[in-house]
């Protein structure tokens, strides 16, 4: 996966005008490829990335600020909760809002109707807008630096920098910096003109092996769409026996499927990302099959929800009483690009993460155990005991 060469970029500009799907008008004559909504270069190495629909997951992905195009993320979840499903819906909804083509495997249209409703761009939708804004500023600043860097080395790249860094101030109107990530409300339903564009690949018996036919349908759907479309492949609750027939979980069915999915994603001309969720209670990580699925994936994230989070943990892990308590732990076993290169060198490595799912966002924060964890009553009582004792000692 790498970014394009300069001279090729020129030809694309011409190509793209013929594509009806793109709303951005062709900008001044010679310019490099105009940005596709929802795709931006990674601040780390400039590869195109797209948002997962939840800013804090974007920030977790090894400094790329999003899921790099052509990468496949495996979201594993322990227990019977469906936090991964919520993340997946954000991901799908973001794709719909960005006019990307969303392919849902194994689900009916029903699934698409339950996507969370749009609030607006993630930045201003957040109540803690100031903190968000500072993060936002950081990204913009990174942009600018990269733009300058590009301009310094190759003059032809200056317009690209303009479209990245200065566009919001100069262009005005339609081209204010298109939002990269949006905020959604899980309690509302998404209504968006392009929601009908989603394709569903249901599980239907056919004379071919099931996953082979899914693969073929996926490839056909992607091949039939205009060449510049950005695709998202969504596979909810993969291998779940309520959806998939049992023989699918044979390694000789699953692994070739994932392998060809990987091949599809890594084709030089394709612009696809994929997120798969996997119920770990049915397919434990200690099994060789799951390990192979992880090895084929670019990123592996495991969600470990706390058991019935209700009261016992109500305040544990939250730094202040104003913050919501975490609902589970999140482990990153492999991150896209980073681990492919050998791992290490990420500031987030080795961090323990906790996640909180609220109506409006899925938030991932560093996890720290408070001192009173699990023994709050005892601590309170000792504390209350202590005071009179001290008073006693005075006399």
């Amino acid at each position: 996966m790498s970014f394009r060469k300069r001279n090729v970029g020129l030809t694309t500009g011409a190509d793209r005008t013929s594509v009806p799907n793109i709303s951005t008008p062709p900008q001044a004559a010679t310019q490099s490829a105009p940005p596709t909504p929802g795709v931006r270069p990674s601040p780390d190495d400039g590869r195109p990335t797209t948002s997962t629909g939840s800013p804090s997951l974007d920030n977790l992905l090894a400094g790329h600020g999003g899921l790099p195009v052509g990468k496949m993320l495996l979201l594993e979840e322990n227990g019977t909760t469906d936090f991964a499903g919520a993340l997946l819906r954000y991901y799908a909804a973001e794709g719909v809002v960005q006019d990307q083509k969303v392919h849902v495997v194994g689900m009916q249209e029903q699934w698409g109707r339950s996507l969370p409703g749009l609030i607006g761009p993630a930045e201003n939708a957040n109540e803690k807008s100031d903190r968000r804004k500072s993060e936002r500023m950081k990204i913009a600043w990174r942009y600018e630096r990269l733009g300058e860097f590009g301009a310094g080395v190759a003059g032809a790249r200056a317009p690209a920098a303009g479209s990245g860094g200065q566009a919001p101030s100069t262009d005005g109107g339609q081209a204010t910096q298109p939002a990269f990530c949006h905020a959604f409300d899980l309690t509302k339903r998404l209504t968006h003109p392009s929601i009908g564009n989603m394709t569903y690949i249901p599980i239907r018996p056919s004379n071919e092996p099931l996953l082979v036919s899914i693969q073929k349908k996926l490839e056909a759907a992607i091949a039939s769409s205009p060449p510049n479309t950005v695709h998202r492949i969504v596979i909810p609750s993969f291998l779940n026996p309520t959806v998939y027939p049992p023989e699918v979980s044979q390694p000789e069915n699953v692994l070739p499927f994932l392998h060809s999915l990987r091949a599809l994603l890594s084709r030089p001309a394709s612009r696809i990302t994929a997120i798969i969720t996997l119920p770990l209670s049915l397919f434990p990580r200690s099994s060789g099959l799951v390990r192979w699925m992880e090895l084929i994936s670019d990123g592996v994230i495991e969600l470990c929800p706390f058991p019935h989070s209700a009261d016992a943990l109500s305040t544990s892990g939250a730094a202040t009483s104003h913050e919501e308590p975490p609902q589970g732990m999140l482990k990153t076993h492999r991150l896209p690009v980073l681990h492919e290169r050998g791992g290490g060198s990420d500031q987030n490595i080795g961090q323990d993460w906790a996640f909180t799912l609220s109506r409006r966002k899925f938030e991932i924060k560093p996890f720290s155990l408070p001192p009173a964890e699990g023994d709050k009553e005892a601590q309170d009582s000792t504390r209350s005991d202590k005071m009179p004792k001290k008073a006693d000692l005075e006399f």
Partner: protein, 356 residues
């Protein structure tokens, strides 16, 4: 850290000159992948002598023999290897043109079902090659040799060998396609790879002095075993034989395998319950290869958990086959070692001992 040599000196003795007809095993786990090490092998064989200021002879010219590399990769495509090698200063596209390197793509079409002719025009329309349908990116870093860069010409490979024959001649990349079952399917793959190797051997260049040594790198061939399974009549023995067949065609072979706990230890003699066939076959394949290897390089995560300045642990050991060599010559003598490594953001690798 100031600029590291592309080949850290602690690593150089292990990757520079794999002994003749030897098998080197590189084992990796989920969080400690082997790609950086494979790239170091490529660099050691193909690297530019003038670019190196280290004392090691990595010129690729040894005893008047020129080293060439054939890379067979089952999990990563050409784009990945090309761009990662570029970060090391290795231009694989140019080396391919100079017939010093060949890439065999085991990812793109290995299990693809689009072998029917009706789909071929469609896919070739969609991927006409030469990057005519690029992703929209803001190319930030300049590409030094844009014009010379030849994009692979992806042709859809039929299930028969003829289509791939044409693919090989028209483009630098051979794409493997798995079809059929059992030993016959493996034989077909072996034949394709061997053809690529022989083609490199046969190519004589003007500056070639004498024979060339082909170093074969087989990256993650264990996928083939895991994804085919017993139903296709492929087991650890067949895969081992397959590797052995490839070994015979090359001067030295480097194979990477996964050594994750679930894949190895579920089936080991120390496990308590009967493991499923995937684990058994994988463990038998991996351990069997290790029995045949001269050098075993094991990558794993730090036991104490992830750290910010350490990517993982590398342990280099002598494999069972090392004892078969008669007397190790001076250049072949090296000692077993365990070091830490850190893959930097710029692609450089820092290798150091514990506590250094």
């Amino acid at each position: 850290m100031p600029s590291q040599p592309a080949l850290p000196h602690l690593l150089a003795p292990y990757v520079s000159s794999p002994p003749q007809s030897s098998l080197t095993i590189v084992s990796s786990v989920l969080g400690a992948t082997s790609n950086w090490l494979v790239l170091r092998f490529l660099y050691a064989a193909l690297g530019n002598p003038s670019a190196s200021n280290s004392g090691y002879d990595i010129s690729g010219l040894e005893n008047g023999k020129k080293k060439k590399v054939v890379l067979v990769s089952f999990l990563r495509g050409w784009e990945f290897w090309r761009s990662e090698a570029k970060r090391l200063g290795l231009d694989l596209a140019r080396l391919t043109e100079k017939r010093r390197f060949a890439f065999v793509d085991g990812l793109s079409d290995l299990f693809s079902s689009s072998s029917t002719p009706s789909q071929s025009p469609l896919s070739s329309h969609q991927y006409p090659g030469a990057g005519a349908v690029p992703r929209t990116t803001l190319p930030i870093r300049p590409q030094p040799t844009p014009a010379r860069l030849r994009q692979p010409v992806p042709l859809s490979t039929g299930s028969n060998g003829i289509a791939s024959q044409t693919a090989r001649e028209s483009g630098p990349i051979t794409k493997l396609h798995f079809s059929g079952s059992g030993v016959a399917a493996l034989d077909a793959l072996e034949k394709e790879i061997a053809a690529v190797i022989n083609e490199l051997v046969d190519t004589k260049l003007g500056d070639d002095r004498g024979e060339s040594e082909i170093i074969l790198v087989v990256d993650q061939s264990d996928l083939l075993l895991a994804a085919t399974g017993a139903s296709k009549g492929i087991g650890a023995t067949e895969m081992g034989d397959w590797i052995m067949g490839l070994q015979q065609a090359a001067y030295a072979t480097i194979a990477t395998i996964s050594a994750d706990s679930p894949l190895i230890h579920n089936a080991s003699a120390f496990a308590h319950e009967a493991p499923p066939p995937l684990e058994t076959e994988h463990a038998a394949f991996a351990v069997g290869l290790a029995h045949r290897a001269e050098i075993i390089m094991q990558l794993r995560n730090l036991e104490t958990g992830a750290a910010r300045d350490v990517s993982g642990v590398l342990r280099v050991s002598k494999g069972s086959a090392w004892g078969q060599r008669e007397i190790a010559t001076a250049e072949e003598s090296w000692e077993e070692k365990e070091v830490l490594y850190f893959v930097q953001r710029d692609g450089g690798v820092n290798v150091f001992g514990r506590g250094e």
